[in-house]
Symmetry: C2
Subunit: 338 residues, 2 copies
């Protein structure tokens, strides 16, 4: 048995920690104009990527990011055997149509905007478990396809409350393998569905903060660590509203995250200059921020250990219109310099 699970609890500690051997980030124009603009592998000026629909454009992003990550892994890394991928759209159509040409066995995942966390965890479990020497973790989101799926036709020019977030257009891809590169996945805490009964789909940060708190606290308790054992604890897309709530909720559980917390949604856009309100969101938000900003800091040794916690809001227009609440989920992955 090569894995060390933390018994009776939620977490996994990887004894032979899989390495993140390559990473790719492809984003849209608006993301390219944001604070991380220079760090992305590729910025696509055309939001349609030459395709006929938003959904096909998102599929094109996935295909490009997957190919780039495998290309960057180079010939020293074994061939990718399995693909872990998902997106926000109903029945994962961005994924199904995006990855078809790769001809890789696919584990389709849905964790809303936490999907890349789920993909990295399952990918690491697969590599350490000996089921594949290399796997690909992949996800995407697109502003146009997400607005169409969840909100209003773009042509309405609908106004958005200040608690709303802006779906990131992009795709992030990562190759995991036994060795190579300077960052590895040393632990994971898969999250539970947490529902505080909030019903505002325009305030997803507040809906997800309790789930982020649940997973982060479970993680710290399982590993017997404090926030100070991490350079940063980095959530996916809580935005500014969700961050305030997370700090308060974690404080009540006895964990002071002040000064240790970052949020990809707050890093990716300049919310005032770019008019993105509470911040960025979408599966790509945490994935491209990990690929472009977080991993380079770990690989250079500037950061030694990060808790990466993508967060997801679990809703559909059907559940929302039927008056259901918006529960959250968050998956935590420990990434360390090596």
């Amino acid at each position: 048995m090569s894995a060390e699970t933390i018994r009776g609890k939620q977490s996994i500690s990887f004894r032979e920690a899989p390495h993140i051997v390559s990473r790719a980030s492809i984003v849209g124009k608006k993301e390219g104009e944001g604070p991380l603009g220079n760090l992305f592998d590729r910025v696509e000026e055309d939001p349609m990527l030459g395709q006929a629909s938003w959904e096909e454009a998102e599929s094109a992003l996935q295909k490009q990011a997957a190919r780039l990550a495998m290309e960057k892994a180079g010939p020293g890394v074994p061939p990718v055997r399995y693909l872990f991928s998902g997106d926000l759209l109903g029945q994962l159509i961005a994924t199904s149509f995006g990855v078809m040409d790769l001809k890789l066995p696919l584990f389709g995942l849905y964790g809303a905007c936490s999907t890349i966390g789920e993909a990295l965890m399952l990918g690491a479990m697969t590599v350490q478990g000996g089921y594949s020497d290399a796997v690909l973790a992949l996800t995407s989101s697109h502003f146009g396809s997400a607005e169409k799926q969840f909100r209003f036709p773009l042509a309405y020019g609908n106004q958005r409350p200040l608690s709303a977030t802006w779906t990131v257009t992009g795709s992030g891809a990562f190759v995991l393998a036994h060795s190579g590169g300077k960052a590895r996945v040393t632990g994971a805490t898969p999250g539970r569905v947490v529902d505080y009964g909030l019903k505002d789909s325009m305030n997803m940060g507040a809906c997800m903060a309790p789930a982020a708190c649940d997973t982060i606290c479970a993680h710290l308790e399982d590993f017997g660590r404090t926030p100070q054992d991490y350079d940063y604890i980095i959530t996916g897309d809580l935005g500014s509203v969700g961050q305030t709530l997370l700090l308060e909720l974690a404080g009540k559980r006895g964990f002071d995250l002040e000064g240790r917390h970052l949020d990809c949604g707050m890093l990716i856009f300049d919310s005032k200059a770019q008019d993105t309100h509470a911040g960025g969101s979408g599966c790509a938000c945490s994935a491209v921020t990990l690929a472009s900003y977080i991993l380079p800091k770990i690989e250079s040794g500037e950061w030694r250990r990060v808790l990466f916690v993508p967060t997801g809001a679990l809703l559909s227009t059907v559940s929302y219109n039927e008056g259901q609440s918006v529960p959250g989920i968050a998956h935590a992955v420990v990434i360390e310099y090596c």
Copy 2:
């Protein structure tokens, strides 16, 4: 390294094959009136299960099946640590709202009607990998919520072509652990997305048959076996139209499945008497047939080895209305008597 992967190919052979230690099947009234009616654990006469919507009814099915499977596992089985579940609805709302009260870490999955295959594979990988002593694999579908999601309001009384299938109302749940019970998962072949360009969402059997063929042939080639090495190769929900195509396509690849192939969609309904046309479909179709009909035959030793191949049609109303094709995916799991 405890897993034996078949290098350069698609499959996994489990050296310490995880056992399916319990199984639960809960279905609706129509399924209860079908040929397997007496074999299900529970038949719900009320299609709403006392809930306010089809979606909440489906969530209730998941919750009941999950609880029943864990109850049936009994005190000798370690507590379930992780849950692998998904459903057909956009953003997996049947799952999110169904499993919340279980308070288990959730890996949300989407493989359309192949989801239980994906859940069983990942569950077996998790148990053998030492990440958990017991996991739960779960899925559901509901005729009402699926028609609302994919087709027409029920009140229209819309006519259906003879190639159409009938979404099974139900939920199937399975506990996997290191030991216990008389059936185990000895191998797996995760499937790829396969697209023959068919565009008829009312003929999903034809859309999925190429994927079923791709996975079954890859499996047989990887393991160096013939169809005769299995008592049966049992697909999820190809129905009668898809079966004909599968036999033809597999024949062209050199594998004669004649007399060795069964399909859960053809087993679960009496298509003439119950007016279900080509057969049953939906995530629950293969899951409840496995729980009620296939596993008992394996556990009794009547069947020694089965290749269980749930099949999924990858479409959403968005992709369909935008003129996209309906690709398929199929995940194969080897289940053996022990």
